[in-house]
Amino acid sequence: MLKFLAGSVAAVAIFVSGAVANAQTLKMWGPEQITEPLVAELWNGIKADFEKANPGVKVEFMPPTGTISNGAVQSAIQSNVGPDVILTNSGIGRISIVRNAKQVMPLTEQYEKRGWKNQIYPWLYTELKGQFGGEVYEVPDGLDALGIWYHKDLFAQAGWKVPATWKEFETLLAAIDAKGLQPIAIGPRTTGSAGHLFGNLLQSASGKETIGKALRKEIAWDDPKVAAGAVRLQKLVEAGFIKKEMAGLDLDGASRLWFNKRAAMFVAGPWFTANARKAGYDLVNAGYAPMPSDNPGEAIPTGGVGWSWLVPVNSKQPDLAMKWIDFMLSDPVMKKRAQAPASTMIYPRELTGIEPPTPVLKEIFAAAAAGVGYNPSVYLPATVLDTYFQVIQGLISGQVTGEAGMKQIQAKMAEAK
């Protein structure tokens, strides 16, 4: 009996040790808002499908403590016990920080080998290839399209219309202000939020081509053609349409004003649906429109690559990380995500026969169908970004004029390599 027991224990031990030796864990940084039940349900399902397709593999989510913008991703990679694959806010400005610090792997070869280049929009692949001399360091997961969110019921009750021109927009702001509501809410303590409104204003005043030129250093940021958007922000603050006190708000504080209908408008992207659900806001009531412009054809959302997959240079499971990205780019997973009620973004390739899960997402997709302008927050060099965000805070708190603020941004741009 004793011999049998000892034999059984030994057999179990060998089995367990064998299983442990074969077990592989893929640590994934993300997803955001995993604490939201709908998001958790979607991602746990994806995780289970991947584990089923790859026996012996476990996927472990690492809830993000921040982004590249606040240094959280860099610190996690630097710790050497960080993630094997990362899903985070991206764009050339952010990616250049981790790329210059040699913290992420080049993925160019994988685009060819694994066919990723055929799984994203051709224009997107061309854009990525042009950023770092042909090397690509990210795999886009979602695109952003930033525009104005408004309350349909509030607008209907007051008889307000979505403005078609900047003049109409100013008239609308005055009417909202007269009603005792905050015309626009903004939370510039969250740098991204500051950039969303400012990018919209730059696009509206100067147009996509001019902002593109400014980002490529073909025109100075303090050129009146580019600075016009900054001057508009200064004037909106001076008129009281954007309260100076908002300089002390973060994204949560500002969106709280909008969700509680104390603010009529808010500049955000498709991801705002997740914030709205979390706040218990009825998404059927949410309307979306691009910031109006007097320049024909320039009333378009701003955006760019919003979220991407990255593979750290010290990933303990680089092969598994590539497999995971393959899996995420596959048709079934992408369609599953696009149709899920937790869907919060525009996907990096055209998905036919997919109905967006909320009406506001449908409006956003329609607005973005004609293309999006630049959100400078994701295109500016890392060394300029900090000044860019601080200048926006300075404009909202009335510490700097539009022209002077743009001079500071231009000075940083001139230094940037």
Partner: protein, 326 residues
């Protein structure tokens, strides 16, 4: 000189006799015993200290040396090849107006912290030290904020300061004092002070406990004598209590200055140095340079600057204290 007993000896010499025996032994051996003991002890001491010395070298000396090395190099991150740039990082730091602005803010922050946290700690210690039954309750209640993480304190106070929903502005409005509502975190003139209030709220509890301990050590007969001389409460405070707290006050001020220089978490959480750098401290700027811009060279220069600042402030304060006590 260590006085060793012979192994197995059952008798213990009286203290006075022990030194006499040791002295005799040293003289008899012509000093060779003492020398043997000294070299043996030094060797043992070094072996015993080795683990601590190794840890100190790894976790203190090496990082300090690495910081100096980084300050003369340019690199975009720890994984990149760095290049020697001489004093370029120092020149760039000196030419950066935000550095000087953050240095000024750091000094203001330190003063606010010493005055607000130290002052509140002293005031509350004086207020509750005479309480008999309820002192423990108040002591515990006032100390509780100190147990809360600074990051959590930042989140709580950011909500208190919210200009639209915050407790502070709402209370002022409800009390008919709407004219006093402010953008506590958006007004450039107020933001550093507002954030410091949050930080000091978390810190005053420790200083209060130290002051209470100091108050308990003041000889009560001094108060009795002052009473007999007809001293008022104010005179007793000025001529008995505060002089009696001199040592504790010195300690509290030193501690508050060190904590003030380390200020980071509340600023990082509540304003991230904004708006438009109006609450930027040296520490937050170091973080911004090192982890957001990956400019480790300039961040290292600022680390050295911060260390020099701490050393200079400590030296000046100690000299001032020494002069006062003469």
């Amino acid at each position: 000189m260590i006085n060793r007993e012979t192994p197995g000896s059952s008798t213990v010499a009286p203290l006075g006799n022990r030194s006499a025996i040791a002295k005799t032994a040293t003289v008899e051996a012509g000093g060779s015993v003492a020398r043997r003991f000294d070299s043996h002890d030094t060797g043992s001491a070094l072996w015993l200290m080795a683990p601590a010395l190794v840890l100190y070298a790894i976790f203190s000396l090496l990082p300090i040396a690495a910081t100096f090395w980084l300050s003369f190099n340019s690199s975009a991150g720890f994984n990149t090849a760095s290049s020697f740039v001489g004093l370029d990082n120092y020149a760039a730091t000196a030419a950066d107006p935000i550095v000087w602005q953050s240095l000024w803010h750091t000094l203001l922050w330190l003063i606010y912290h010493v005055v607000l946290a130290g002052g509140l700690g002293l005031a509350l210690a004086l207020a509750i030290s005479r309480l008999k039954v309820t002192q423990v309750f108040f002591r515990t209640a006032f100390f509780l904020p100190h147990l809360v993480s600074l990051a959590v304190v930042g989140v709580i106070w950011a909500n208190i300061y919210d200009p639209f929903y915050g407790l502070l502005n709402t209370a002022l409005t409800e009390l008919g004092l709407g004219a006093f509502t402010q953008g506590w975190l958006s007004d450039p003139a107020l933001v550093l002070f507002s954030v410091n209030v949050a930080s000091s709220w978390q810190g005053f509890g420790l200083y209060m406990l130290l002051f209470i301990a100091g108050l308990q050590n003041i000889d009560h007969s001094l108060y009795d004598a002052a009473e007999v001389d007809g001293a008022s409460a104010w005179q007793k405070l000025v001529y008995v209590t505060l002089p009696g707290l001199r040592e504790v006050t010195t300690f509290v001020v030193s501690l508050a200055m060190i904590n003030g220089l380390k200020g980071f978490a509340t600023v990082f959480v509540m304003t991230n140095g904004g708006p438009f750098y109006q609450s930027e401290l040296i520490t937050t700027y170091i973080y911004r340079l090192a982890f957001q811009s990956q400019d480790h060279g300039r961040a290292a220069v600022l680390c050295i600057l911060l260390s020099l600042l701490a050393i200079a402030i400590t030296l000046v304060f100690n000299r001032w204290r020494a002069r006062l006590s003469k």
